[in-house]
Subunit: 307 residues, 4 copies
């Protein structure tokens, strides 16, 4: 198992079957520095076009269509002392007739204090003078090359992941993506120092980070949408509009997981999901919205295990 | 401040301006036993028609249109040793082309052990033999008479509350409803011993409970949708289809709360919501879906206070 | 068969089980003058509260739950020389981030020239100096009392009809409503001199009209949503949000009609609908949107007939 | 102006910036034979993978980003005596709880009689023995390379066109696409002998056709979504889910057209659209739905003209 320091020199605004920027072996660790969502690096220099320029793709040897790529996010370290947000709710998250009451979507700077582990507005606003938020790092956009020769914009997301903007995608998360192309072709970028549910101002605190992750291949797994696990739960991810359809995708994927690898009958899966499911909202801003469906591990059948 | 023991003798399948079954004074406590969602009482006797027959309405003296009714849920005690669910995911929460893979929506019995504080299937199913869930009581349907002479079915929900099926509506919750009719005319029923997010099998564990709550009037409050608070958060509730619109209602209401009573500017409210908001899904089964928008109290401006 | 001249003296903002204002017999004709959507009569006098005050209810003797009420719109005659619209697209019909580009929703007057059969702006605007539209009268809001004691606002619509704002509901139209209460309890109002699809400025040309219609009862008909026919087509009406769900309701109702009274197999109904269906948009402004599903009569099985 | 006979030898399942299969000059005519949606040619031989393999791309000299590609569909001639459909309504167009009542989605053959100009089931089904439909040819999927290096699946559609499945895209139609890549890179395929609104069985009568069209470049036009005109109307096309959002896109594009090239004020554009707009449903089956917004030419300002 090797650790690769991967210095990106080109970035991509689509997830697609593109020439690999790095080749790794099953189980290798990769450390890489990302640009922020606007393509600006840790020195404040614009290196690539927005939105969400990606490092990658990383070719994982042995990954084939029908397999699953396991991504363990080991560490995300801010490498810049500042980040930015948009200072207004997005038009689509308020009642349409109230859009006019929203402020302009100005770019606003935040201070990221890595030592203190905090994020705060650079220029405090009235009423929020004391607002000091914890750094809760997350990957806004990451995933693998999609199927059928598609090149999917990093503004949006699909079965292959992408711009899901889910705050659960931080250090400690383990995520599984279905593999559609040989080598999986993994991409990442768009790090947030913190973000609320839904990314309802259209951004988290956008910044550059050093990301450390392990990439592994699980052979021959039936899986349609991204899956993941935390210490407490297993989860599935659906990406679509409207939010209802994102929820349908995530719910169906969980149903398939429970009736598949966990061996529950459709009735048993319904009982467990009906009384124990928790939903979390990824983004409700991008072209595809993201809904995440969690089941507590403590209620899962003991005889099976999470892959 | 009086405590009323309210024994319902008639039940309603709409929230409407109907003759009061009980008159109380601002700040009074009411204790009442509800039927389950199918109209069956604690003895297993069918007393009313489903769905969701309501106790009430309770007339709170002094409540006028433009005021707010504060409901403190003090206690919810199961008064029946069993409950029931539907044993299949609802058709609308899975991908449409997968509906055929769902089992029939059979009625299934659960044992509610009030002493142990647990809920479990009466007839265990394979893989869930060990599934013992905690009792987490909640009011599936409650609210006040709506505006303009409407009589809104207890199958659905709106600005006045109703069948929101949100698991946060349990003991300790404080909820505020806008008042549309003199006396507010408060209704309640449809108790669940536990329920997952979304009520995705179309039911929680449906049962009869004794509910104790305090009803208070707050004069002259500008509020469009239900609001509430927990020990940790304040929250707003939007009811509509699709889920996107429920989210818009809840988000707009939170924006109005923060820019109104909390005195934040639209920019400041956007900052706070953008990086700190949490959404929870009420139901995605009823005609109107329910989305709940939370903001942690610790980040609220110190100079204001939650009403 | 009697012709009733029905002069309304009270109006309603809900469709509900209310005391009948008129009793008629199966097959009777009713002539009545409506107020406009704001409650203003033919003399320009405000007689009732908006929105959409209704004449009625009309009790049709012999109509019972499970029957169908047939409404033949015979004539709609403008009885006022002017109408009004809102002069701006509704916020919900444009891209959310473009709402700010819309003008204010000012009330604008139109001249209705009954003799010439035309509608035109009272104060012409640049570029539309020559805009002379035909009078195409339609009932914006009409229907019967809903089920289960509901009182449904005339701002919205449901299985019982209501504020569907479909331009097909004019003279010559035959519409069938499912009956939920004894006597059906028919309501009407909210006449438009003309309206585009979707009612996308939130109004047609709102005015007062004299409406002549025949009310008949069809016994024991299985029907869930409004149905209708024109000279060329049969159609079904779905009311819901989002538009996708309105379309699902209308499509399911047509499927049930073709496989029910027309005796087609599910496969045959699918063939016919798949290659010959036409959809028309009722409203996309009200709380429930309206989608209409048409099948040309010329393709219907010859051995059956439309009821 | 040259006429090119373009014989495709490779087909594509994405619209993307791919090497041109043909170069033409502004105003040239192209005649080409398409495969059907499953990749089968006029001889019944499978030549490419479904879904919707495209002929192209055709590079139109002089077309640059910011221009518009004008496509005049001159002729569509069936070149195969048969087509196929799916014999069941799609799961997503009926009420979710009714999906189980749909038949299986079997492939069904139809006879296309080019001489008679008719389409009929190869094996008649009961009740539809007399069903003889006219040939109404249309292009299911066509458009140009999208922006930002995307490769968009021919299963779906976007600003650049694609799988819109709108029955208005037949002979006589003039359609304008925004150009995102040099040469526009035009693709076409997926011809239908006939199709109802919405493509609600997931297909029209899928077949191979010879298509004749003229490709022209209009320089420097501000346009976000496909536009078109018929003899009677101008129209705009929105592609998205849910249908509400497709409608928002189409409506916004029409508003921009009327306030842009037609010079109407926002108020005037609202008046005209509010009382005269007609919507038509393209598809409600593909990942993105399609809504088309029409305005009659007779009401357009006389001083301007349609590009």
């Amino acid at each position: 198992m090797t650790t690769h320091r991967f210095e990106a020199t080109a970035w991509h605004n689509v997830l697609a079957k593109l020439p690999a920027a790095l080749h790794v072996t099953n189980g290798d660790t990769v450390i890489t520095e990302t640009l922020d969502a606007a393509g600006v690096d840790k020195h404040g220099i614009a290196r690539a076009q927005g939105s969400n320029p990606m490092n990658g793709p990383i070719h994982v040897d042995g990954a084939e269509p029908g397999d699953v790529l396991q991504v363990d996010i080991i560490r995300m370290t801010p490498i810049r002392g500042h980040g930015w947000t948009r200072g207004a709710l997005a038009a689509n998250v308020v009642d349409p007739e109230r859009v006019r009451d929203l402020p302009p979507r100005a770019k606003v700077d935040w201070i990221i204090d890595a030592e203190a582990g905090t994020v705060r507005l650079k220029e405090p606003v009235e009423g929020l003078e004391q607002l000091i938020l914890p750094i809760e790092p997350m990957l806004g956009c990451f995933g693998v090359a999609p199927a059928h020769g598609q090149a999917i914009s990093t503004a949006t997301s699909a079965e292959n992941g992408g711009n899901m903007d889910y705050r659960g995608f931080g250090p400690g998360a383990r995520i599984w993506f279905p593999v559609f192309e040989p080598g999986a072709l993994f991409y990442l970028g768009d790090c947030h120092a913190i973000q609320g549910d839904g990314e309802i101002v259209g951004t988290g605190v956008e910044t550059a980070m050093e990301v450390e992750m392990r990439l592994s291949v699980l052979k021959d797994r039936k899986q349609a949408w991204p899956r993941g696990e935390t210490a407490e739960t297993i989860y599935t991810v659906g990406n679509a509009r409207p939010l209802d359809q994102a929820l349908q995708h995530a719910t169906t994927e969980m149903f398939d997981w429970l009736t598949g690898e966990y061996g529950l009958s459709p009735v048993a899966a319904s009982h467990l999901m009906g009384q124990a499911v928790r939903y979390e909202v990824g983004n409700v801003f991008d072209p595809a919205f993201t809904m995440v469906c969690h089941i507590p591990k403590k209620y899962l059948p003991k005889s099976q295990k999470p892959r």
